[in-house]
């Protein structure tokens, strides 16, 4: 999905290269020469200081020990740099963003963790042909060439955000103390400076099923997502389509049953029968594990444009057939609502397999609205 965070290590390498200044830093905390270092978790987590994810003024062996302890908390990516004393008053702020109106540069002579307290010092300039680079150079203490190089590197490397906070300038040389870069992951194949392996997301402990779906998504040209919200929730969803999946969950939430919603997830892009089977199995296993007394499952989505309902439902039916007896034992009831190519065949098939195990609550086509179908689902778990 498009906007993703780049590792701080890679971000700093790209930025320092653009500024044409040396960069001293490592992504391996285990093999360092003697010295004094600062080590940070490099995994797109916020408030690292507050959460104890930064180690200051450590020797090489202390860095290794610190990293080993932090690994036990589930972190795996680090950035290590030489420790340098500096005064907070030296800190400055610079960011670049782009939207439909152009590229915007935001700067301040303040920086660091207090930037939000100094929000009134932030100045945003929209860059264009008339931009006075020399004035900006004076304000930022960077050279006009360096500023232009940052803009070029932003464009060339498909950044969607570049935030340097803070940097300090000593003897005319900028030092990047922290840099956050977000990139457009749709461009992963178009750039050389970064790749899929440099993209970071905050660590999250995945359930087996979430991992199964994540792996499925990686391999397939179709898209899949599955995220547990409440493992012991009573309402499970097996949805298709980016917009419709959010809508179905919204309807559950708006009906006051948000706390009962066990998962979010969707498949789209016309997956194969086999993929639909794997995905459904993951959802059903999670459902069977829930401790909720009454459980219900919603299958479907909006009226598909080109996703073949009969084909994707065949995979879903296969999985239901496999888990049918257990589902029956758990008293699970299922509401299906879907339209699209070959919908009659798809809906008939799923009704047949649901009937086989007495799981059918309702099977609807597009003539029944999504929220009416959701209401029917909620009836299954309401007292």
């Amino acid at each position: 999905m498009p906007r993703r965070k780049l590792s701080e290590y890679r971000a700093k390498q790209i930025v320092t290269t653009a500024l044409d200044v040396p960069y001293e830093g490592w992504d391996n905390p285990d093999k360092l020469a003697d010295g004094t270092y600062v080590v940070k978790v490099d995994q797109a987590v916020k408030k690292r200081f507050k959460n104890g994810l930064v180690g200051l003024k450590l020797s090489a062996s202390e860095v290794k020990k610190w990293a080993d302890q932090t690994r036990e908390k589930g972190y795996e990516h680090f950035i290590v740099e030489p420790y340098r004393e500096h005064d907070q008053s030296e800190e400055r702020y610079l960011s670049l963003t782009r939207d439909g109106n152009g590229m915007h540069l935001t700067i301040s002579s303040h920086g660091g963790v207090d930037i939000e307290d100094n929000a009134d010092t932030l100045e945003t300039i929209t860059l264009d042909d008339a931009t006075d680079w020399n004035t900006l150079a004076k304000k930022t203490r960077l050279s006009a060439e360096q500023l232009r190089a940052l803009v070029d590197t932003y464009t060339k490397n498909y950044f969607t955000l570049l935030e340097i906070n803070p940097y300090i300038v000593r003897d005319g040389v900028p030092h990047i103390l922290d840099a956050a870069v977000e990139v457009d992951d749709a461009a992963a194949l178009l750039v050389d400076a970064w790749g899929e392996e440099d993209l970071r997301r905050p660590p999250r402990v995945l359930s087996d099923e979430e991992r199964t779906v994540a792996e499925l998504a990686e391999k397939s040209p179709a898209s899949f997502s599955f995220q547990l919200i409440n493992p012991d929730g009573s309402l499970f969803v097996l949805l298709s389509g980016g917009g419709a999946s959010v809508t179905v969950c919204d309807e559950i939430y708006s009906a006051g049953y948000g706390k009962e919603l066990a998962n979010y997830g969707e498949y789209s892009g016309n997956p194969t029968e086999e993929e639909a089977y794997i995905y459904t199995s993951a959802v059903l296993r999670t459902l069977l594990r829930s401790q909720a007394k009454k459980k219900a499952l919603f299958i479907g989505g909006a009226v598909a444009n080109f996703t073949d309902i009969a084909k994707t439902f065949a995979g879903i039916c296969h999985a239901i057939d496999e888990y049918g007896e257990q589902l029956q034992k758990h008293g699970v009831h299922v509401v299906v609502r879907r339209g699209g190519p070959n919908q009659e065949k798809g809906l008939n098939n799923i009704r047949a397999v649901l009937d086989k195990y007495n799981l059918t609550a309702a099977v609807y086509d597009q003539t029944v609205t999504i929220d009416a179908a959701v209401k029917r689902l909620i009836e299954e778990v309401a007292q």
């Binding site: 999905m1 498009p2 906007r3 782009r98 939207d99 439909g100 464009t155 498909y158 969607t160 457009d184 749709a186 461009a187 194949l189 178009l190 905050p202 999250r204 898209s223 997502s225 995220q227 919200i229 298709s240 389509g241 980016g242 917009g243 419709a244 999946s245 959010v246 809508t247 969950c249 919204d250 309807e251 559950i252 939430y253 708006s254 948000g258 706390k259 919603l261 979010y264 969707e266 789209s268 892009g269 989505g301 909006a302 009226v303 598909a304 444009n305 080109f306 339209g339 699209g340 190519p341 070959n342 919908q343 597009q366 003539t367 609205t369 999504i370 929220d371 009416a372």
Partner: protein, 588 residues
């Protein structure tokens, strides 16, 4: 861009890439609303020359060309819609190229997901400059009921299109950031009895080329639209901009909206939902905040989808949609442009057989059939007549004739004797006209000089087809070639013959007998005539060489010669032919 203008035009659509399901659904829509012919006029893709689709219960073919430059001039001129189904990495370059190349382009719909934001923003600029409505990326298309359906929007099965009730226009615009939901909303609108004025899937990216605000203004300016149904999502700030348009009085029509994503409030760290845009980066981008802002500006914001229909008003659509029914579709194993039964009578090239026979000379019939279309040029027919006569025989000594004669004397039947002769035709015997023609086309269109052309053959160590003769020389020209020259003076300046002559001027400097021979001359003059009289493009001429049209002239004509030799031998009836031992030198 005004929708009213588009409603008046006849859609002429080019698809970049091929997506058979989408194409069929667009043709089905055309058929359903009673168009006389498909709106899709060409497909830009590799591998095939045409693709077959259903047109109602019948079949049609749509031409496929590998790039825009290969399109016919009238197609380039007429094209006003492009649908781009190529991969995300080619979206920018291919869309840009299409906008630049097609002078009357009005709409582009882009299907691919995962197009980089920066590329979409660049396209936005180009689209504005050229006043082209570009929808997407990751758009399932645009629907203008009664005019066109571009993309998968509305469904990809005929029954779906009928059930969606989108054959006739109504008063309600449908604008959605989600492809699945645009279809859902269409059903909500038509299910409520209203008609769709237009429907558009903008795509779920952060910066779609046409953003929701532009789409709203399009609806505002559209006389047919009385109200707008909008589907938005969490993430981004478009809804604030929409509210601003309303506050400023730029958007006055009633908007009924659904903004999805309130469920994000359940998460500590909200996930990236299905669409690229669907991640609220700040409180302002949450669905709840955006719904509130829209409500403040008077938008009817629905918490439930089923509330949408009851908030619509105005004239309802007549129940009777009156659309064509399709019951039986059969894919035929073959198609033919030459002949077939029409109402029980055999038709040839578009006319009843006897009528064709009566109105054509043999040469005219032959040329028309070999080209697969009726030829009206008298000059082309006369030249064909001359060629067919000239190639009819070249003595009993040539390889093909010998094989026919030997076979005849072995007592085999006519078909075997003729086949034995024909099977000799190939690169060394008889095939030179075809290869020479290909050479002249390549030479002329590549822009290389005659010298470079000759050098390229020297470098390959190959001979130039159409050049060289055993007997005739520069100072003793081939009288047959002179005869062919009666057919020069074509409107293309005889450019193929001219090139062939330039090549000859170079080769004869090397050796006196490397003259333009009868094969090379026939090829060159035929090319000039096809181009001048029948409007063949270089690509089409090259295709004629690929399918061995020029070879066909030789085979056809020489079949007469072989047949004659066969019959002649049978009349002599000399018995089995055998070489004697001293005809073959045995080397131990």
């Amino acid at each position: 861009m005004k929708l009213a203008e588009l409603r008046k035009t006849t859609p002429s659509v080019i698809m970049l890439g091929s997506h058979p399901g989408v194409i069929q659904s667009m043709l089905d829509y055309d058929y359903m609303i009673g168009r006389e012919r498909p709106s899709i006029v060409a497909i830009i893709a590799h591998g095939r020359k045409l693709e077959r689709y259903f047109w109602g219960e019948d079949e049609v073919v749509i031409p496929v060309v590998p790039k825009l430059e290969r399109l016919k001039k009238n197609v380039v001129e007429s094209c006003n819609v492009v649908i781009n189904v190529q991969s995300a990495r080619r979206v920018l370059s291919s869309t840009k190229a299409a906008i630049e190349y097609l002078p009357n382009l009005k709409i582009v719909s882009i299907f691919a997901e995962q197009t980089p934001e920066a590329h979409s923003l660049e396209l936005r600029e180009i689209a504005q400059q050229k006043d082209v409505l570009v929808v997407g990326p990751s758009s399932v298309g645009i629907l203008l009921p009664g005019v066109f359906k571009i993309g998968a929007i509305g469904g990809t099965q005929y029954k779906q299109l009928v059930d969606a009730k989108i054959a006739h226009p109504g008063n309600t615009a449908v604008i959605s950031t989600s492809g699945g939901m645009v279809n859902e909303l269409i059903h909500i609108v038509t299910g409520g009895g209203y008609g769709v004025s237009f429907a558009m899937a903008l795509g779920g990216d952060r910066y779609p080329v046409t953003d929701p605000m532009s789409a709203m203004l399009l609806a505002e300016a559209d006389e047919a639209t009385e109200q707008i149904v909008y589907f938005g999502e969490l993430g981004g700030t478009d809804e604030y901009e929409i509210a601003k348009l309303i506050d400023e009085g730029k958007l006055t029509k009633n908007v009924v909206a659904y903004v999805a994503g309130v469920v994000a409030e359940l998460f500590d760290t909200p996930p990236q939902f299905g669409h690229a845009k669907a991640l609220a980066q700040s409180q302002d981008e949450s669905a709840t905040a955006k719904k509130e802002r829209l409500r403040k500006s008077g938008v009817v914001v629905c918490d439930h989808l089923s509330e949408i229909a009851s908030n619509l008003s105005g004239e309802k659509l007549a129940d009777d949609q009156n659309v064509s029914v399709i019951t039986n579709r059969k894919k035929r194993p073959f198609i033919s442009h030459i002949s077939g039964d029409v109402d029980g009578d055999v038709h040839l090239l578009g006319h009843e057989l006897l009528e064709t026979v009566e109105n054509n000379s043999l040469a005219s019939l032959v040329l028309s059939m070999l080209l697969g279309k009726e030829v009206k040029s008298q000059k082309a027919v006369e030249f064909t007549d001359l060629v067919l006569k000239m190639l009819v025989d070249h003595g009993p000594y040539v390889s093909g004739a010998i094989n026919t004669i030997v076979t005849a004397r072995a007592g085999r039947d006519l078909a075997s004797g003729l086949a034995a002769g024909l099977l000799t035709i190939g690169p060394r015997f008889g095939g030179a006209i075809n290869e020479a023609s290909r050479g002249w086309v390549d030479g002329v269109t590549s822009g290389m000089s005659a010298k470079e052309f000759v050098d390229s053959f020297v470098a390959k160590g190959g001979i130039i087809s159409g050049i060289g003769h055993k007997k005739y020389r520069i100072d003793m020209p081939d009288p047959r070639v002179n005869m062919l020259m009666k057919f020069t003076g074509n409107s293309n300046g005889d450019r193929y013959l001219k090139f062939a002559r330039e090549v000859e001027a170079i080769t004869t400097q090397k050796k006196g007998n490397l003259i333009l021979n009868v094969d090379g001359a026939i090829g060159a003059v035929m090319l000039d005539i096809l181009e001048s009289e029948l409007d063949y493009t270089p690509d089409e001429l090259r295709e004629l060489a690929d399918i061995e049209f020029f070879n066909a002239l030789f085979i056809l004509s020489r079949s007469v010669g072989f047949t004659a030799h066969y019959l002649d031998q049978r009349r002599h009836d000399e018995g089995l032919f055998r070489l004697s031992a001293d005809d073959v030198r045995y080397i131990e």
